[in-house]
Symmetry: C2
Subunit: 300 residues, 2 copies
């Protein structure tokens, strides 16, 4: 990435200038229109800010494969339930802006809430079957909010490619379905989970964790590792594996299972036997913080 | 229109050639992409076929104001309820094609049902509050089907302008909301109701009517005329006007009121007093045929 970046703007002072901040929808559209007219391939990384290495891996991929990269930061109210953390979700704009300076991203799009959702707003898009499982089951309305805001951002930015992390594996699949069903010409690129040294999947919500909760949070990736080992050693019963995962999580007093799913990677229906490629997906509440993680397994 | 048309293709044999039929989504997208690259303003008239003068007025406006016009014919299954007339909806493709030859339309888009709704299709768009009234109330799921297919067609054809008839006044308003809420750059143009000599609003469903039902069907526009007269003479009570409309409809034994609404023209909430601009909207079943009509009134 750095090379690409340096090729374009060799001095540190110029680096700062390369990140254009746009807050107006109209200006964002005008920028995108010019990009299209100039034949540029536009990459888009939608985020809710509080950027970490996971986001940066998406940005790097976009900068490496597109002519121009737009990153949006918008904490989207429609994807939070009434008892969820919309109000307390970490907002770290100045730090994010600094982080973005060195990525080679071209535009930081910061839409205002009242311009994305003005008075009288009432149109929602819903991917149906696939959102009836996993996070869609325990966070009703979540995916409806995600697909609505993502579709709006797609319509504003008109990207050729958009980048999503595989930590939100169901979200990635739901977005792919959205794009296919609504006949959009956008390539959806998924990128692998980025983890802390001890295995915890990177997430903006990790910063909610106290020191002891942070220790307990390791249980998610540990449980996935153990499940993978069991399957490698021949275990095929989803029930046995789910039990073992639950046992590992519940060793921690401050951890509570939201769901443990061993399912079809595309439609998320539960599997009884692991006979082919399957997704193991977890949601666990550690203290008040809800964390998710997942991995693929091959039951061959 | 005719002049515009003749300017482009002076001989009858060439006229026939000007209407390109496209059935593939991919080809339709490629055509639209070329049009955009050539800087053409693309107009779009979505229809379910069985074309009448109402459709033609939309086509004429598109041909007059755009560089290229696409008309789609697709009887959209997702907007029909389980007990509605999807199976029997008139399909008159050869006649429609002939009709279109003389309009100056450039492309007839005829998507296949299984390409617009392939196996696994599961994404729907819903305009919410505005669809809780009038036809949205008595035809649950109707607008969800309309907005979903229209959004798909918009994404395939990528038009600058799209044309809708004011007979479906609520649909027109719902589409405007869809476009605004989802940040689409499409100008939605509404065109006035085209009527038969005796006042009946043109509709593909009129051909369902028997001779005696056709006589009864005049009651819709007659009732609207009478309501308008009453308001001009000073009547302001919505209840009185609704009663009078109902009386006129129910003079016909084969006519049954679905709804009579006197409402706000934008959000469709019922009005008690006609103090400003209001919409009078009717849905009436004549025999088995459901007909709609509407007009604006000014209670000044």
């Amino acid at each position: 990435m750095k090379t690409t970046y340096l090729d374009r703007s060799p001095t540190p002072s110029k680096r700062t200038k390369t990140l254009l901040t746009i807050t107006s929808i109209k200006e964002m559209k005008a920028w995108a229109r010019r990009g299209h007219e100039e034949g540029k391939v536009i990459g888009f990384v939608p985020t809710m800010g509080c950027l970490h290495e996971g986001h940066l891996s998406l940005l790097k991929e976009s900068v490496a494969t597109c002519d121009a990269t737009v990153v949006s930061i918008f904490v989207n109210p429609t994807q939070f339930g009434p008892n969820e953390d919309f109000g307390s979700y970490p907002r770290t704009l100045e730090a994010d802006r600094k982080t973005l300076m060195s990525t080679g991203a071209d535009v930081l799009f910061l839409p205002r809430q009242d311009s994305l959702y003005p008075d009288g707003f009432q149109t929602y898009v819903q991917v149906e079957e696939k959102t009836g499982y996993l996070c869609g089951k325990t966070r009703p309305g979540f995916f409806r909010g995600v697909t609505t805001v993502v579709l709006k951002l797609f319509n504003i930015i008109n990207p050729h490619k958009a980048f999503f992390g595989e930590k939100d594996r169901q979200q990635l699949e739901v977005i792919r379905t959205l794009v296919q069903d609504l006949n959009l010409d956008i390539t959806i690129v998924g990128k692998p989970i980025v983890r802390e040294t001890d295995g915890l999947a990177m997430s903006s919500r990790n910063r909610y964790l106290s020191k002891s909760e942070r220790d307990s949070a390791r249980a998610l990736s540990q449980a996935l590792d153990l499940a993978r080992n069991q399957i490698e050693r021949g275990e095929r019963s989803a029930e046995s594996i789910r039990k073992e995962i639950r046992r590992i999580i519940e060793e921690h007093k401050d951890a509570e299972v939201d769901y443990i799913s061993i399912c079809d990677p595309e439609n998320f229906t539960e599997q009884k036997k692991i006979t082919s490629r399957a997704l193991i997906a977890l949601a666990v509440r550690v203290g008040k913080t809800r964390l998710i993680d997942n991995c693929f397994v091959e039951g061959v």
